[in-house]
Amino acid sequence: MNNIAFNVALPLLTAFLLPIISSGSKSATRFVGPFVLLAMLWFALAYFNVLQHPVAIALGGFLPPLGISFHLDNLSLLMAALIPLMMLLLWPYNNREGFREESLLLLLAGAASGLALSGDLFNIYVFYELLSVASFGLAAANRTAAAFAATFRYVIISGLGTVLALTGIALIYTQTGTLNLAHIGLLASQLNNPVGLSAFALIVIGIGVKAEIFPVNGWVPEVYSTASPRISALLAGLISKLAVLVIIRLLVVAYQGSQALTLLLVLGMLGIIWGELSAWHSKDLKRMFSFSSIGQLGMVLVAFSIPGDAGMAAGIAMMLHHLVVKPGMFLLTENWNGPIKKLKGAATSSPLAAFLFMLFALSMIGVPPLPGFWAKLLLVTGLVEANAPLYIIALVVLLTATVIEAHYLMSTALKIFSRGKKKHFKKLLQTPFNLTIATIFGAVLLAALFTLTPLGNKLNQIATESSDRSLYIKTTLSLKLPPQVKQQVSKVQ
């Protein structure tokens, strides 16, 4: 199990060496990245297959809570496998300009794997910062003036976010005296006070910059509409989910009280309202997708705010669904730039792209029997069963948002399928690569449709496992506590 450290070490090692490799051989530069990603995928899948129960590994051989530990369970290994998989799909295979973008992508992969696996709050912060800096570079990789302006705003908001998150982590440290997540969970009773709760709020807002959470998502529409579609797909599809993963780990392990859940619920609802209404207003396809991404992540947050296994299952289902659908949609925007009005007749020049748009849109609205419907159904039943006034309000917000979503997506579809001049879209035939990748995302969505039962079973298993607080704590701390800490822990209790 120790070998899972390769998932962090290998991409970083390759990124460090890439400048040297590229001065030696240009073709090696192009192949080494995908090769490393394949190796990462192999490690993650190998452990995913043999994992019977969650395992913790101590990095550097120092037992947690003194050292840093990685927590391996179904959820973290699933994310660790999805990272290289998405990167392989969205890799710039036709980039001949140099090694820098590849280097940044590998650093992003290493940071994301660390974020998915780590069980230590400060270690999570370090990888989050690495993830942020790598994504700044990628957002500006287009090197247009608009991309620079958007990235600048992104840097400022992210900088604010990391400072807030660090303040939150420091507050948790002053209250508990430890940084290991499992150890914090053991001492969770000391966080049930105004200082502990505001620490949680600060971390949610801080990490929430990447998760597109309500007050700190001003960068989203600008960055996604100026970066290349591959990068937007990566940031919206994968990176936002990792930030959400950190928040729910903290929620499950340390904040079981209702205040933390209410905070997530309210932020989620505000995200839904703001995102969907802005998407409804927007005149540009990329901006529309960006705003709808904010709305969708609001729904994910609402799902995780439902207590117990039901919320966890609904949240993970919404997360995975968004992870497949949104990158597919962003890849379609490659040739559908500009205002939505100009999309007239797009279907006649590229029926496949139009079909894929329809598929993704219907699944996102939640039309049965597409996978999006089942994910939203889990969310709706969860909200109904939670049976509290605030959750009923959330239900109303969710259903209204679905209607708005259906309206703007379908009116766009109407434009695409209406008759129009063909000549605008000739370019589409020349760059079919992104369309091929979008087709793969569509195929995955359809494949999920035919394997709903096994997927549902696995989802329930993952949800039960990852919402089990005592299992998480036991897994890490059963590595044997150092005697001094054990003594102090018993003194505190």
Binding site: N2, N3, A5, F6, A9, L12, L13, A15, L17, L18, P19, I20, G60, G61, P65, L66, G67, I68, R100, L104, L107, G114, F122, N123, E129, L130, V133, A134, G137, A140, A141, R143, A145, A146, F148, A149, F152, L164, T174, Q175, T176, G177, T178, L179, N180, Q190, P194, V195, S198, A201, P215, E222, H281, S282, K283, P482, Q484, V485, Q488, V492
Partner: protein, 257 residues
Amino acid sequence: MRNISALVFASGLAFLLLVITWQFILGGAPMLIGEAILQQAAEELGAANLVTSVVLGYRGIDTLGEIAILFTASTATSLVLSSIAEKTSAKSKPGLRDDGTILASSASLFFPLLMTIGLYIILHGHLTPGGGFQGGVILAAAFFLPLLAVPGRGVNHSGLALVEGFAGASFIVIGIIALFQGKAFLQPLFGHGEMGSLLSAGSLPLLYIAVGLKVGAELSGLLANLAEPSGNGDETLSATESASTEQTSMQAEKTKS
């Protein structure tokens, strides 16, 4: 509207932080991990500087993350700057001022002194305060000082990239060697030695040398990168100018919609 919401957010944050500070019991914070590390670090790692045993031992992977962040920042910066450099390279460079013999020769005089101090701090990182990050910054200053004194003096970028790449790689390779020996990633190797002597604390000094060289090479490369296109400031200005006009047009569109 935007100013008002920013003001509300900032004052809310300030209020929250004030309330939190009010709640603190100063000096009463629990030190679970801190005390445990103080008690056993010297015995477990054999480093006289306890901070080093935390930075490279207990939290070694954090340090790996930190050097990766610096590397990422410099890669991203050179990605952004390369577009400006490409545009300006066609133009002839404007004549550079000569700032005089005193400045130039004192910069050369400082070079060996700074190198010695930087390397000393790196090599004694496991014994005395300081270490790879601090020493690395001094190394970078040693390389950057001559560049400030005599603008236009070239920097050997490929040499820096070589040092940077191999230093970063050796940090990770030391970690992977432990993995192949059946230990955990980044577990210290080769025993403790006698505490307080130069050859002690296992592989920690090696890790610090890697960190120091990487930080030094990276910072000097980054600073040189920033210094180089500055001779042709008008081009940089026009890029930012067009960026800002584009943003205002974007805002105009937003207000329209």
